[in-house]
Amino acid sequence: MRTSTTRSEKYYILISLILLLALWKIISLIIDADIILPSPENTFISFYNLVITRDFSRILLFSLIRGFLGFMISFFLGITFGFLSGTNKYFGKLFEPFLIIIRSTPIMSIILIALIWFRATNVPVFASFLVSFPIICMNVTEGIKNIDVNLIQMAQVYNINKIRVFKEIYFPSILPFLLAGISTAAGIGWKAVIAAEVLSQPEYALGTSMQVSRIYLDTESVFAWTIIAILISFLSERVIRKFEKSIVKWKG
């Protein structure tokens, strides 16, 4: 679970990005139609124009808030239900089919149903909640099942009280699983937010902007918004990793 990027790894990333850009440029030259594949430079011009518009920060903020809300709901419910499933065998068995059903439901079905049930701005929140909840839940359950009973016995022999056993054995055992779940859930949840926004069309939303650009055949902007979405995903991943490294010190 080594997450630090060494110097040479950084070079590889840089080279692969340059290769990607070169490939993109070459293909766009061959196709020679910005409406189908805009060139990298036009995309970046469009990117710049987007970023300087008055509404940009609002669009970004609102989308981020939706993602964050959906995430927080699945975070708290995921931990609660994951904990119940992991500690109570019967609850776990009863609850598992629900999770499997949620996980097997196409994201588009979730969004379409949410469109019927909720106001436009809440559809993305619901969608991101529903895709990330099972992930966090299952990871927490997995973490609990992974707790070493030998350590619990050791604590019992040494008369460690229940609160300390929870804080000093249960919690650290579950933590790596929880963090892995958070990382995956945040990534998938963010994609669900954008997909839901494309369909639900809230007033200020990254997905709405993307869809509008598509309708006007403004392919550069579609690309530019996509790059913004990717950057946000990348940044949130980095933040989570940093956080993970600072608390899971004992590994690696």
Binding site: N150, L151, Q153, M154, Q156, V157, Y158, N159, I160, N161, R164, E168, I169, P172, V248, K249, W250, K251
Partner: protein, 236 residues
């Protein structure tokens, strides 16, 4: 004084390990248990420490005793350092300064001063075992249970730990239950040695008493030769 276990019965899914089993644990002495693998030594220790319940039997005196346990595996918390693993068992018993002193004392006794802030991940098997030993000694218990504490240690280290153990024990004579495969260890440390028979259910095949002080035995190992011979004979 002795703690008595009477009429002990324990079986796992039809496999009877103990049946009408009696054993006396002499207080403030080193009670050694020798026996082949799978005979039920760890099971006996787990019953004594309350980790598992017996199916039947009386071990009433044991209930109120506090216990330190050197398990067959180190059982360290991966997220705590050497220091953290030892102070873990002291936290509700002492104030901060005392915890620090006691923890540091036992870390030096097991020779891990320079590894105090290491996580178990970075320690060798023998080093982890030493942390487990230090933890058990640091905890102020009535009974010290040891399940092959000196295995996975090289000869020199084992020798030095046995010497430190005896010194510690001379100062602070706890009741010790000591399981080993090693005849030499038994002959050096035991005040009383129980040899378990390789049968199901198991029985005590032979009880050997040794009166000589452990320190004297360590200083004159040739004096244990006879005991070792006896023990070997009963272990077939």
């Amino acid at each position: 004084m002795a703690l008595r276990i009477k009429n002990l019965k324990k079986s796992f899914h039809g496999l009877t390990i103990f049946e009408n089993f009696d054993i006396e644990i002499n207080e403030k002495e080193i009670n050694c248990i020798l026996g082949p693998s799978g005979v039920g030594k760890t099971t006996l220790l787990n019953i004594l420490s309350g980790i598992i319940d017996a199916d039947k039997g009386q071990l009433s005196d044991l209930k109120e005793k506090t216990i330190s346990y050197i398990f067959q595996e180190p059982r360290l918390l991966a997220w705590k350092t050497v220091y953290g693993n030892i102070s873990f068992v002291l936290k509700n018993l002492y104030n901060r300064q005392e915890i620090e002193n006691i923890t540091n004392k036992y870390i030096s006794i097991v020779g891990l001063k320079n590894f105090k802030d290491y996580y178990p991940d970075k320690l060798s098997g023998g080093m982890k075992q030493r942390v487990s030993i230090a933890r058990a000694f640091a905890y102020p218990s009535d009974i010290l249970i040891m399940d092959e504490p000196f295995k996975s240690l090289d000869f020199k280290l084992k020798k030095s730990l046995i010497v430190s153990f005896v010194k510690l024990w001379e100062i602070d004579k706890r009741t010790v239950m000591f399981v080993t495969h090693d005849v030499e260890e038994a002959a050096l440390l035991g005040n009383v040695i129980y040899i378990l028979k390789d049968s199901q259910p198991t029985e005590i095949e032979k009880v050997v008493h040794i009166n000589a002080r452990q320190i004297d035995r360590i200083l004159n190992p040739q004096k244990t030769a006879k005991t070792k011979k006896t023990l070997l004979k009963y272990l077939k």
